[in-house]
């Protein structure tokens, strides 16, 4: 041990003594991270406020959402109790089961608006297997790469990419472009944090750019239409462009201070579509203005920051990669939704995390937060 280590020991010793006397704190016993929890509760509260307005002052919607939040928090608490070291080996099984469910969706799934996303298994509430894959894919890729030397060799990267591509394609086939993009990026993030060499990253980006026309041809007609509408919403102001035009008007007319809670004309006079789901941030921007959106974005930023800090503290490679990937996926959620509503990105059906009305997404999100907390609770203590 060098001098440096000695100095460290001397610096930490008094605190360690205090720790030994008191034992671990209450939060640590519960395996919960108070900071993260506080910020999430703040987002949920703010979200309920906006949801009440966006749903047309519907108390039923707010009550239902409250129940979902409760359920999501419960799932989070349960997951934090799980030590990833103990369940790690079951991950491949989980992955295979997930793939089977996705195939089952394509074969027997139920759906709406031309998309098959739901699976109805007798005795279980109907659910979307793609939601489960939002967790399973980063888990699987992290598990796989944790078992390989880092930075990963090309062959390992290719295997990892295949692990990502199979569920992504199955989900894109439903079709559910938003979810498949999110899952795809969660897998890619793991590879990035595994230390993929920059030259591969640059190469992949170049290939991606070259492959864009191919992707265009692979898109379905309605998906192409969405991209066209995104590039030129005025081309069809009463049809497909309507949503984006109206949401920009809602945001822009909100100004800095907003029109006031429940005072949004765009949302309350039905000019704005999907005010309680995908376009809820436009309601927020209209009624609470730039200040309101910035407050929410700051809360999201705090979640992301905390997630990165947790990843930074994690020592096991699996934990590190998983935490970082989940955090970035959460960030992508926010960006895709806000970017879509403000006209920066094409319209993809991605809800605003923890604010949009809907249960499945909230449960999945809180489950991933649960994973983060579980990782953080089992970090090596500074003694």
């Amino acid at each position: 041990m060098g001098l440096q280590t000695m100095a460290d020991f001397q610096r930490w010793a008094p605190e360690a003594r205090r720790h030994l006397k008191k034992g671990p704190g209450l939060w640590l016993k519960l395996k919960l991270d108070p900071w993260l929890l506080l910020v999430l509760l703040a987002i949920m509260s703010f979200g309920l406020l906006v949801l009440y307005s966006g749903s047309g002052s519907s108390e039923t919607a707010v009550n239902k959402q409250l129940v979902r939040y409760g359920l999501a928090l419960l799932v989070m608490v349960i997951i934090t109790q799980v030590n990833l070291r103990h369940v790690q080996r079951w991950i491949p099984l989980l992955y295979i089961a997930g793939l089977l469910l996705l195939v089952a969706v394509l074969l027997f799934g139920a759906g709406a608006k031309g998309a098959q996303r739901w699976l109805e298994i007798p005795g279980l509430p109907r659910f979307q297997p793609s939601e489960i894959m939002k967790l399973v894919v980063p888990l699987t890729v992290s598990w796989y790469l944790a078992g390989q030397p880092r930075p990963p060799k090309l062959i390992h990267v290719i295997v990892a990419m295949v692990l990502v591509a199979v569920p992504v394609l199955l989900i894109a086939k439903q079709p559910d472009l938003g979810t498949s993009l999110l899952i795809g990026s969660s897998g890619v993030f793991v590879v990035f944090f595994a230390g993929l060499l920059w030259r591969y990253i640059i190469l992949a980006m170049a290939l991606g750019a070259a492959g864009l026309p191919l992707m265009w041809m692979g898109l379905r007609e309605y998906q192409k239409q969405r991209v066209i509408t995104f590039l030129d919403p005025e081309s069809d102001p009463l049809g497909a462009g309507w949503n984006i035009i109206q949401s920009k008007i809602a945001i822009g007319s909100g100004g800095i201070n907003g029109k006031g809670w429940l005072q949004g004309t765009q949302s309350h006079l039905d000019f704005l579509p999907e005010t309680h789901t995908d376009f809820i941030v436009a309601v927020l921007a209209e009624e609470f203005g730039l200040i309101g959106v910035c407050v929410l974005l700051s809360l999201y930023f705090l979640v992301v920051l905390r997630g990165l800090i947790i990843a930074g503290y994690a020592t096991h490679p699996f934990d590190r990669m998983l935490a970082a990937s989940l955090t970035l996926t959460f960030f992508v959620y926010v960006v895709v939704n806000v970017g879509m509503v403000s006209g920066l990105l094409p319209v993809v059906g991605v809800p605003l995390p923890l604010v949009s009305y809907g249960g499945t997404a909230a449960v999945t999100l809180m489950a991933s937060i649960g994973l983060l907390m579980s990782i953080h609770a089992r970090r090596p203590q500074r003694i």
């Binding site: 822009g252 765009q266 039905d270 970035l328």
Partner: protein, 641 residues
């Protein structure tokens, strides 16, 4: 743990942390991008989007003023407004957008019946410039069943809406249409002429008659409101409102009871009745038969019904009271007599021997009197009472064209006398100039003879004949003939009071000897009450004195030496029966002109109708009943005694 592995691990951790910093950098960058987008929208472009948002929710709507009501002289409603339901479509809000209109129409047709013409008119309106999300009218005046049907099916008919509206309504439909005219949907031609601002919310405009002439007064001034609407165009609240100024109510001289009686008397006939109050010039009744329903024109008449009206041989759409040209026949005899004596061409004692015909030259054409064998010695009085044609052939021959046409003109023939009926025509007063221009011939002596008995080229409308009767009754005193009595309670003496052009200002007729009026009056009273008066049957038993003159207009010239047989000639070639007159004979309160087409003689076809109208006007319905009661009492008393 070997040192190298430790070192490796250390390297790996620092590499991971570097990646975390990279990620954080990217995250901050993207968040900054989003925030700057929001700043761009919410700060930089804020004003633009505020305007867009307000444009979205606020709409300036024009509000049609309520059309003024039309009352009769006693305050009975002749034209009102009633609530009606209009079926409209908002093309932008149809389930499949504008392109699905035919589909929606087909679906609607399963729910209610829609007229082909309505669809045609709807499509025309659809192609006119309009605000997005504004409703386009498809069908007017839905009945309760149709409204219920549409409401029940509302869920599968998005964009289909029922809009309440006020629509013109004529309570007594057929009987008054030729006097009032009607309003109808504004057509393209009218649209070009009307003030587009003031009519921006108005659907109807006066098409005929009083409704057309007083359009400006009846229409009112458009109002505006700014409303907040939702995305489907439903009005949430009114933000600002400038009330429209309703049209003015107008009161006519028309007497609803008299008008109704006139219409009833004409039922099943072709003809016209015009009644005027000689003290004011106000039109008391103006009926033309056959008639038609005015209300069907308000909401849009079906093509089949319209064609049926248009093609009918009886010409129901034709306003005979204002536009029918009839030979006035013997009804002009009092005027011709006045022309003769007032111009000094014949003496007041002038008389002829009537053998039943008149011959201009020996061996020349025979001008027949209506009475075979003639009337014997005839002076002016007898010539009017018994309507002796021969007398008038004689004096017409002495006068020639000029004095006759001059006096006929003084009595209103050959000119539009009524001020506020835009459809009125001049008919024909055949001056020498007229004959030269229209027949390219000079005036013959035979023409004068025909003119003397009101036949030949001369024609007049029933309104003109009523005017002539008024001047006779008034001893030459003119009043403007008009429908209007008052606008918003303010009396109208002549249409120039409300800024319109009066018809050619007539002069009062001043005879050289005013006692001549009395001579004519006495003769006309004897027509009704004299032993040999042509109208004596209609004048009998009246509690008041009537002055009148019958007329029988030949539809065809009767050939020489042919005996006239009404039954042998097709009904259409039968004589027109005419009558002019007033009552009471002194201080008259009503003058009348009655024309029954192909009704036969004036004394049998027209005069009895006039008598009934005089009774209604002078005795009134109540008085009539009382008179009957009295008569019964009297009968009872006699029986007792």
């Amino acid at each position: 743990m070997p040192w190298s592995q430790m070192n490796n691990q250390h390297q790996e951790v620092s590499q991971f942390k570097a990646r975390l910093w990279w990620a954080l950098f990217l995250i901050v960058l993207v968040f900054a991008g989003i925030v700057s987008r929001l700043v761009y929208l919410q700060v930089w472009q804020h004003q633009h989007y505020v305007t867009e948002s307000d444009d979205n929710r606020q709409q300036l709507q024009a509000i049609a003023p309520t059309r003024g009501l039309i009352y009769d002289t006693n305050g009975d409603l002749l034209a009102g407004n009633r609530a009606s339901h209009i079926l409209t479509l908002v093309p932008e809000q149809l389930a499949g957008g504008r392109g699905s209109i035919d589909g929606v129409l087909a679906e609607l047709a399963q729910v209610i019946t829609i007229d082909e013409g309505d669809i045609k008119r709807f499509k025309r309106r659809l192609n006119q410039p309009r605000r997005p999300h504004s409703p386009v009218a498809l069908s007017f005046q839905l009945n309760q069943t149709e409204i219920a049907q549409i409401i029940v099916n509302q869920h599968r008919l998005p964009g289909v809406r029922i809009v309440p509206d006020l629509v013109r309504y004529y309570p007594s439909d057929e009987g008054f249409v030729h006097a009032l005219g009607y309003v109808g949907r504004i057509n393209d031609r009218e649209l070009a002429k009307l003030d587009s601002t003031n009519y921006s919310a108005t659907e109807h405009v006066g098409k005929l008659g009083v409704e057309r002439y007083y359009e400006t007064e009846l229409h009112g001034t458009v109002g505006y409101q700014t409303v907040e609407t939702n995305a489907r165009g439903r009005v949430i609240q009114v933000l600002d409102r400038l009330e429209p100024v309703p049209g003015k109510d107008i009161t006519l001289f028309l007497d609803a009871q008299l008008q109704q009686t006139a219409a009833k008397l004409l039922e099943g006939k072709r003809g016209a009745i015009v009644a005027i109050d000689p003290r004011t010039g106000g039109v008391l009744a103006m009926a033309s038969a056959p008639s038609y329903g005015a209300n069907q024109f308000v909401t849009g008449i079906s093509n089949a019904n319209y064609q049926a009206l248009r093609k009918s041989d009886d010409l129901p759409l034709f306003n005979r009271a204002l536009r029918g040209r009839y030979p006035p026949a013997s009804t002009v005899k009092p005027v011709i007599a006045i022309a003769g004596i007032d111009s000094g061409i014949i003496s007041r004692k002038y008389s002829i021997w009537d053998p039943g015909y008149y011959q201009l030259t020996e061996d020349g054409r025979l001008y027949r009197d209506w009475k075979e064998g003639g009337h014997g010695r005839v002076n002016m009085h007898k010539s009017i009472v018994e309507s002796v044609d021969t007398f008038y052939y004689s004096i017409a021959h002495l006068m020639g064209n000029t004095p006759m046409t001059k006096y006929l003109a003084l009595f209103g023939l050959g000119q539009v006398t009524i001020a506020d009926q835009p459809e009125a025509i001049k008919a024909v007063l055949p001056t020498k100039k007229w004959k030269r221009a229209n027949r390219n011939a000079s005036w013959f002596r035979g023409d004068s003879l025909n003119l003397g008995i009101g036949q030949g080229f001369l024609s007049a409308t029933p309104t003109q004949l009523a005017t002539m009767a008024m001047l006779l009754a008034n001893k030459g005193q003119w009043h403007q003939i008009r429908m209007i009595k008052a606008i918003d309670g303010q009396a109208v003496e002549k249409v120039s009071d409300i800024g319109r052009n009066d018809p050619k200002q007539p002069v009062n007729i001043e005879l050289k000897r005013t006692s001549d009026w009395n001579k004519i009056h006495n003769a006309m009273v004897d027509v009704m009450h004299g032993k040999k008066g042509t109208g004596r049957r209609s004048g009998a038993d009246s509690s008041y004195k009537i002055a009148g003159k019958t007329g029988t207009a030949q539809v065809l010239g009767i050939k020489q030496d042919d005996t006239y047989d009404a039954e042998k000639i097709a009904e259409r070639f039968r004589d027109h029966g005419l009558y002019i007159g007033w009552a009471p004979a002194k201080d008259p309160v009503i003058v009348l002109a009655v024309i029954i087409e192909n009704g036969g003689g004036g004394s049998s076809a027209a005069a009895p109708l006039a008598r009934k109208l005089f009774d209604v006007r002078i005795l009134g319905a109540m008085a009539e009943e009382k008179a009957e009661e009295k008569a019964e009492e009297k009968d009872g008393a006699t029986n007792d005694g």
